[in-house]
């Protein structure tokens, strides 16, 4: 465990420093509803302990949260956990786990626009929370794959049935995973990369 000293700012541990040769980074966004396992997935593949970046938003407090009818502005802090995988001495991959609500996506400039692609993580117990996310990614032309995080108490549907329920185009990969396992989360990322590669081969990537 680390802890904050009174006069020092916690920084990366020595082993968490990137090499000086690091020239550029790419990012992948893992998007899904609350409690679906985004941070678990980030943590299972990340080489650093997952970190949190925050953003503050203000909004008119009408009908928002518990500010019933009040016309004041409220400040909300929205957090996003992320992790890192060094690809080569020059290239770094960052993984961001972001809430499914689109209004939060604007808080981090270019979060989706610059991403290689996205993983939509879904929980079969609350499938409908993913509907909006999928629609938004389709509209924005962000390539994505769907990963079904297996919860022991979640209903199990055949993947074909899920594909139909999510109204996914045929080419969009959908796979089951266990976000707690590194190999399984890695496979999800590989599925996304293979999908992106196939889009690149066919020139379908916008």
């Amino acid at each position: 465990m680390d802890f904050k000293g009174s006069d020092t700012i916690p920084g990366p541990r020595t082993e968490d420093h990137l090499p000086h040769t690091a020239q550029a980074a790419v990012k992948i966004v893992i998007v899904g509803g609350f409690g679906v396992g985004k941070t678990t997935m980030v943590g299972s593949v990340s080489e650093i302990r997952p970190l949190t970046t925050e953003e503050t938003m203000t909004e008119a407090g009408v009908g928002v949260d518990d500010n019933f009818g009040s016309r004041t502005k409220t400040a909300t802090t929205v957090a996003m956990d992320f992790g890192r995988i060094s690809i080569t001495e020059q290239l770094v991959l960052y993984l961001f786990g972001t809430p499914g609500q689109e209004r939060f996506w604007f808080l981090w400039n270019g979060l989706f626009e610059g991403a290689l692609g996205a993983v939509v993580l879904i929980d079969t117990r609350r499938l409908e929370v993913s509907f909006d996310v999928i629609g938004r990614l389709e509209e924005r032309g962000v390539p994505f794959v769907v990963a079904v995080n297996s919860f022991p108490d979640g209903p199990r549907y055949p993947l074909g049935e899920l594909r139909q329920a999510l109204d996914l185009s045929e080419e969009i990969p959908i796979i089951e995973c266990d976000a707690r396992r590194r190999a399984s989360s890695r496979d999800v990322l590989m599925t996304l990369m293979r999908f992106l590669h196939s889009l690149a081969m066919t020139g379908a990537l916008r």
Partner: protein, 149 residues
Amino acid sequence: MTPPQRRRRRYPDQGTAQPPPKPTQAPKPAGKPSPAPGQEGDGKAPERLYVVAGPDGERADIDLVTLIVARADPPPSATPEQTAMLRLCTAPLSVAELSAYLSLPFSVVTVLLTEMLTAELVQSRAPIVRQALPDRSLLEAVMHGLQRL
């Protein structure tokens, strides 16, 4: 048991679902570069708060995964935030990591970095973003990297 069914949005046929409101573009002042989607002036993007960084000026094009490297030791004139930032990025570090370690919102870090880039205290290494013509060798490099995990 049947899972619940998503209805895909189809705008042209004006089905049962209302299409979401399109973000309204605020008129841009002439001669200025157009901001990236989601920046202020978008009408749809929530306002950001600036506490540490003071009044907002022009901000450099900084992404969460822009890598930042210190160019110099903190000068005597450096603010505490600048000093902390320079100590953190003696080796390359992403803006997201800076935001996390400094416990400052991303937008505040962006404003601080804009000043520091102008003052040539730090240099930035731009991220590789998704493009119309994707770089297959980049995708392959990422795949090879993941395979080694």
